[in-house]
């Protein structure tokens, strides 16, 4: 479901392909509902080891994140700090991951590449950036930890399945049309870099 509340565009799980229509790179959205942390080894297990993901993330969100968790009595957990990790590490697996799981929202940090662009365009999903290093802000939007799966992977890599409320700001970096904000920015950044280097070179010819 998608709604606009107090000027905020909020996606609530389950999220359909239609809910993502009209969302473009650079937009800011917020998330309500089911979010599961999922990073390096979990992607590898699904795609390379062909193991079924123990949490159903269809029409829901995954977060490329390894949180700090405080264990509580009775197998309960407290979310202390949670923020995104570098999404590009999951690029190698993301096309197959989206195809096989039906996940709609991928939250992470930095850009992703052509595999994820393909997945977002063809399977209707988005990749968003949550401002990294802002892990306490994100943790305060986690209402509870529903379950913890694949705990053998240790604290950062466990699948922490969470219930979130207005998790954001989530800045859309790949949209359902496959547009990629980071790749578009990179072209500009590289042009500016070449210009900057031309200005630096004549001033650092210290070896004569």
């Amino acid at each position: 479901m998608v709604e606009v509340k107090n000027g905020k565009k909020i996606l609530t799980t389950p999220i359909s392909a239609e809910d993502l229509e009209g969302i473009h790179v650079g937009d800011i959205v917020y998330l309500n509902g089911s979010m599961t942390t999922c990073r390096d080894v979990a992607h590898r297990r699904l795609v390379e080891e062909h193991r079924e993901l123990p949490v159903d993330v269809k029409d829901a969100a995954i977060f490329h994140a390894g949180p700090i968790i405080r264990p509580l009595p009775n197998d309960q957990f407290e979310m202390v700090s949670i923020g995104p990790t570098t999404s590009m590490r999951m690029e190698k697996f993301e096309k197959e991951f989206v195809e096989q799981t039906g996940v709609r929202v991928i939250i992470g940090k930095g850009g992703m590449g052509p595999n994820t662009e393909y997945a977002c365009k063809n399977f209707k999903a988005i990749h968003c950036v949550f401002p990294a290093g802002c892990a306490v802000v994100a943790a305060t939007h986690v209402e509870r930890i529903v379950e913890a799966q694949w705990r053998d992977l240790g604290m950062p890599e466990t699948l922490w399945h969470c219930d979130v409320k207005e998790l954001g700001p989530l800045i859309v970096s790949i949209d359902p049309d496959g547009r990629n904000l980071f790749e578009e920015n990179k072209v500009t950044f590289n042009e500016r870099k070449d210009k900057a280097l031309e200005e630096i070179y004549p001033q650092v010819s210290f070896i004569k």
């Binding site: 650079g26 800011i28 994140a65 390894g66 949180p67 700090i68 405080r70 202390v80 700090s81 949670i82 923020g83 990790t85 570098t86 999404s87 590009m88 940090k109 930095g110 850009g111 950036v129 401002p131 990294a132 290093g133 802002c134 892990a135 306490v136 802000v137 943790a139 305060t140 992977l153 240790g154 604290m155 950062p156 890599e157 700001p169 800045i171 970096s173 904000l181 980071f182 920015n185 990179k186 500009t188 950044f189 590289n190 500016r192 870099k193 210009k195 900057a196 280097l197 200005e199 630096i200 070179y201 001033q203 650092v204 010819s205 210290f206 070896i207």
Partner: protein, 330 residues
Amino acid sequence: MQTTNQEHENQKAAGARKAKHEQSKIEGGHMMNREEQVEKLTTYIAHFTDYIGKHLPDDVRAKISELAEAETNPLAKSIYETMNLNQRLASELNRPSCQDTGVIQFWVKCGTKFPLIDDLEALLKEAVVRATVDAPLRHNSVETFDEYNTGKNVGKGTPTVFWDIVPNSDQCEIYVYMAGGGCTLPGKAMVLMPGAGYEGVAKFVLDVMTSYGLNACPPLLVGVGVATSVETAALLSKKALMRPIGSHNENERAAKMEALLEKGINDIGLGPQGMGGKASVMGVNIENTARHPSAIGVAVNVGCWSHRRGHIIFDKDLNYTITTHSEVSL
């Protein structure tokens, strides 16, 4: 602006000196024995490690505020606002401000006459175990080849301890550094042929900025090492990140290169999170040594905006001075 920062740093340093925490060697009416001294130093390091994961150093806070104020891009401004809110919440809720609390690194400059020099490496390890539970810190030590997480942030060779031995001193200076995976990934070193010159050094640094740098949580602090080989340059590039923002290399040309690189990288306009904005970096610090005539070793290490480093100096009686964070007692 850099002059102002330097003055600001000087004032902070003066404040820190005034706030030196005097701890008598005589406590509860008796001289501390060695075990008690080890326990005391362990507790201080554990608390300091915990503290720096929740509060940014003064120079980083000042620089981030300055960059946020100068920002005009609306998306970048809103990211700076979230960053600001996060640091406030981290302090109020007493939580690590970033979930990636790194593999803890200690840069130790220890006098040969510091009374606890023999105990230092073991007690730093113990301090990390304690901080892991107390802060809490994320479990970030994965044994290589066996590929399992120790769950304690210590393992073979972790925490990392770099030693500088200072002859005829009874003090011990320790930098505590928490670098997450994101700002560790761009790390790169190579040996250039002299024909590449300092032009090659500039290109090497800027190429890292537009590839891995933009994912490493800008605005970054960029550390550059210039020496002979990969390991000498790499070590210097990490050391450069310990220097305060706004400080300059004492060599005039190296300082000029710091300023040129800072302007050049800022002109790329990475912005916070690499999503575009006015600035890209908090600063560029270069550390250098002499080199072999046939080689220019160059390395880059970056610190993310959440540059969690702390600097503490102990005297022989374990009185301590903290230069990076004002108004803190352990």
